[in-house]
């Protein structure tokens, strides 16, 4: 199973690999959430949904169902964060 934005832990950063164009609203791409861009998980709402992300200079809140469609590769994980 591959990693998606929904699998990130707060503070972790991933690079977007793939966005399924037929199920993710075009608006999200138009707001800067594009393949190849870094995405950082900023906050998770108290009830685990929605997620607050920073991507390509935009700060956005999206629902988990959308976030779990967007595949990422982690580039900065929790260990790195704790070390620094």
């Amino acid at each position: 199973m591959s990693t998606t934005i929904a699998d990130l832990i707060v503070g972790e950063i991933g690079v977007i690999d793939d966005i399924p164009f037929d199920s993710v609203p075009l608006k999200l791409l138009e707001m800067g959430c594009l393949p190849g861009k870094e995405v950082e998980l900023m906050q998770i709402a108290p009830l685990k949904d929605p997620l607050y992300i920073k991507v390509n200079g935009s700060h956005l809140a999206i629902r988990k169902e959308t976030a779990s469609l967007i595949k990422v590769t982690k580039i900065k994980n929790l260990c790195d964060i704790l070390k620094s």
Binding site: Q43, L47, G57
Partner: protein
């Protein structure tokens, strides 16, 4: 202005970039300005002098991230450029961009340029550049974008003159496309498209093909040409995605050369604040505390200025009474109109405080955090996190609140929000609640701090929210509405509110409330007064009839006059009408006079109090200065006890909490949902609920 030149200007841009503030500064009008994406939801036009004899008709449009709309407010932008209404087609587009997120703003700009229409890029909020460590090479940017670029700060009023000059010289602006990406999306497709749509720009043809479902009307000459291209939706969708990626590549390429930002400076502060405000526990605690603070200030602290206003109006009545000759007309003025208006003016402190808090919540950027916190919860009740904005601003007035629902993406979530918003306690209910509470709830404090009356009022606000939520849940279960829902919201950076802006907003809204209510009250009071002081034959012969009835009783002059007045009122036009509906409302504990007030307050709830004041003023000549005293003195003829006792008061409170009594709200719902079905559902559903709930309340309590 016929003889001089008028330029048609459209203000376009991402949400929350300061379009409305720039609009206000250009035109001198007062569009609402707030730090929340999606404040402007309909277009607004104003005129302004640009240079010499050159004038501009400026249109403020809702914010959008792309010309491809994903909600109703954004659709207005698309219609402006692709609609068939050519008369309003802009001569020049001013794209307002936020300096902090130029990349995303340029995405929209590149689309506008592709329409081959003169466009000026206005980069706003230059005052924040230093703090955020941003620097831009404007001259190079101009060259790269092949367009006029102006750096301004709308808040500091810097660069407004330059914007005007650029608009006045719009003819010099070129109409060159900047991102030539069509061939790289799908060369074959766009070649065919170009051939078929030789009479319009390629990008416009592309929009016609991809957005036909969002266009209310497609120019007939294009209609049949579109069909062959729009058949393969999946392919189109794929191409749109590719277009987006290519546009961003192109923009990145330009910004690399012209735009530098310091990432740590740019987001350091907001992270820290967000950590607290959207924290698992503190997030909700802070939100609850803010709500509590609002309630506390409305119900407790506002009473000081309110008492002052109350006594001023009582004195004014007294004074007017002494100035005018005695008679029915001065009765109307002194006991109907003045107290009626006073009954509204007294709420200025409470309403202004409420408006003040809403304005601060929105201006700081906190509202989006509430949306974030509440989305999951609201979804359970058929709504979206974005529904919080209508529900909170519904405490001021349902009309702008219902319009604010336009930026909710999913139709079902939006519909549910529109349907339940009228349950929230709007400011028009406040006068009704306050007077009834004053009549039936003793003025005590529990535990030394909470006033009992304040608590009662607070419970009514809670009742409003709870009924909105519960009916949302019910509607969610029962409504069969198709349509996907999704949720994306931008979290704007925190801003220190502009004091001027807040004071202005509060003044404007309060003024609108007082004058709006004042006009209705005046009109209804006069009509009622006329209907109450005229009637058919039995009204004219009232004196004879009453005298013959009471012949054998020993009555003094006073009592006789009182009986005549009562008889007259009951046989006036309004009395006859009231008596006719009395059977229907008797089970709720009301008499016909209250019935009349219920009916007139279908126009607007706040008319309730002034209606009673007018009716009582016709009947009665006694010295009672305030409506409250007069209502307290009203006797129930059947029991000989007070009319507004506890059960009747409670029954009325419940009725007003639920009933859909506001013609303007119904009209807005009709407009927003584009059908009579939903306002009628609200009208009958809510009125039936109100009737039932009042009946139960009255029956249980008495």
């Amino acid at each position: 202005m016929r003889h001089s030149e008028v330029i048609n200007v459209a203000l376009v841009g991402n949400p929350n970039t300061g379009k409305s503030l720039l609009f206000n500064q250009l035109t001198g009008l007062n569009q609402k300005v707030s730090n929340y994406p999606g404040v402007t939801v309909e277009k607004k036009t104003g005129t302004s002098k640009m240079q010499g004899e050159v004038f501009a008709k400026i249109t403020d449009l809702p914010g959008t991230y792309s010309i491809n709309p994903s909600s109703l407010d954004e659709n207005i932008v698309l219609q402006t450029f692709i609609g068939i209404d050519k008369s309003n087609y802009p001569d020049v587009v001013v794209v307002v961009a936020d300096v902090e997120n130029l990349k995303r703003n340029l995405f929209l700009f590149s689309q506008i340029k592709d329409l081959e229409i003169p466009a000026i890029l206005v980069i706003n909020m230059s005052d924040r550049m230093e703090k955020k460590g941003i620097s831009i090479d404007i001259e190079l940017l101009k060259k790269e974008l092949k367009s006029e670029v102006v750096l301004i700060s709308a808040r500091k009023r810097l660069g407004i003159g330059k914007v005007k000059r650029a608009i006045a010289n719009y003819k010099e602006a070129n109409t060159l496309k900047i991102a030539d990406i069509a061939d790289r999306i799908d060369a074959q497709f766009f070649k065919e498209l170009k051939e078929k749509f030789a009479d319009t720009s390629l990008y416009k043809a592309w929009l016609l093909v991809t957005q036909s479902q969002n266009l209310t009307s497609i120019p007939p000459k294009f209609k049949d040409r579109i069909e062959s291209f729009e058949a393969d939706k999946i392919k189109l969708n794929k191409m749109q995605n590719k277009e987006t990626i290519l546009r961003y590549q192109y923009i990145n390429h330009i910004l690399k050369k012209t735009y530098i930002t310091d990432a740590e400076k740019a987001t350091g502060m907001r992270h820290k604040i967000d950590k607290v405000l959207t924290h698992k526990i503190f997030g909700y605690v802070i939100f609850a505390l803010i709500l509590l603070l609002i309630f506390q200030s409305i119900f407790d602290w506002a009473t000081v200025p309110m008492d002052l206003i109350d006594s001023t109006f009582a004195n004014l009545s007294e004074w007017t009474k002494n100035q005018l000759p005695e008679g029915v007309f001065s009765n109307l003025l002194v006991e109907g109109i003045i107290p009626g208006i006073g009954g509204i003016v007294i709420f200025i402190p409470q309403i202004a405080i409420l408006f003040l808090f809403i304005a601060i919540l929105e201006e700081t950027g906190y509202m989006s955090r509430v949306v974030f916190l509440m989305d999951k919860i609201m979804r359970r009740f058929g709504m979206s996190g974005k529904s919080v904005v209508p529900l909170v601003s519904g405490t001021a007035c349902a009309i702008p609140a219902i319009m604010a629902a336009r930026n909710i993406e999913g139709w079902k979530e939006r519909l549910v929000t529109i349907l339940v918003t009228p349950f929230t306690t709007c400011s028009a209910r406040l006068p009704v609640y306050a007077i009834l509470i004053a009549l039936i709830i003793p003025q005590q404090r529990i535990l030394g701090i909470f006033s009992l009356q304040g608590l009662a009022l607070m419970s009514l606000y809670l009742l409003g929210f709870v009924s909105a939520i519960v009916s949302g849940w019910l509607l969610n279960k029962t409504l069969k509405v198709k349509g996907k829902s999704f949720f994306i919201i931008e979290m704007p950076d925190y801003k220190i509110p502009s004091l001027k802006n807040i004071v202005f907003t509060v003044l404007e809204k309060t003024k609108a409330f007082v004058f709006g209510a004042g006009k209705i009250i005046l009109a209804i009071s006069i009509i009622l007064w006329f209907l109450a002081s005229n009637g058919p034959a039995s009204f004219d012969n009232a004196e004879k009839i009453v005298k013959s009835k009471v012949e054998n009783k020993q009555l003094n002059q006073d009592e006789l006059e009182k009986q005549i007045a009562t008889y007259k009122l009951e046989n006036s036009y309004i009395g006859i009408a009231g008596k006719a509906i009395e059977p229907a409302i008797k089970p709720l504990g009301y008499d016909w006079k209250i019935g009349i007030a219920l009916i007139t307050s279908f126009a607007a709830r706040e008319v309730f109090v002034s209606t009673l004041a007018t009716i009582y003023s016709v009947e009665d000549n006694e010295n009672t200065n305030t409506i409250k005293e007069r209502m307290g003195a009203e006797i129930n003829q059947d029991t000989g006890k007070k009319r507004f006792n506890f059960p009747v008061g409670m029954s009325l409170l419940v009725f007003y909490a639920f009933a859909m009594q506001c013609v303007s709200t119904l009209a807005i719902v009709k407009r927003e949902t584009n059908s009579w079905k939903w306002p009628l559902l609200q009208l009958f559903g809510m009125t039936a609920l109100a009737y039932l709930a009042s009946f139960i309340t009255f029956t249980v309590l008495s």
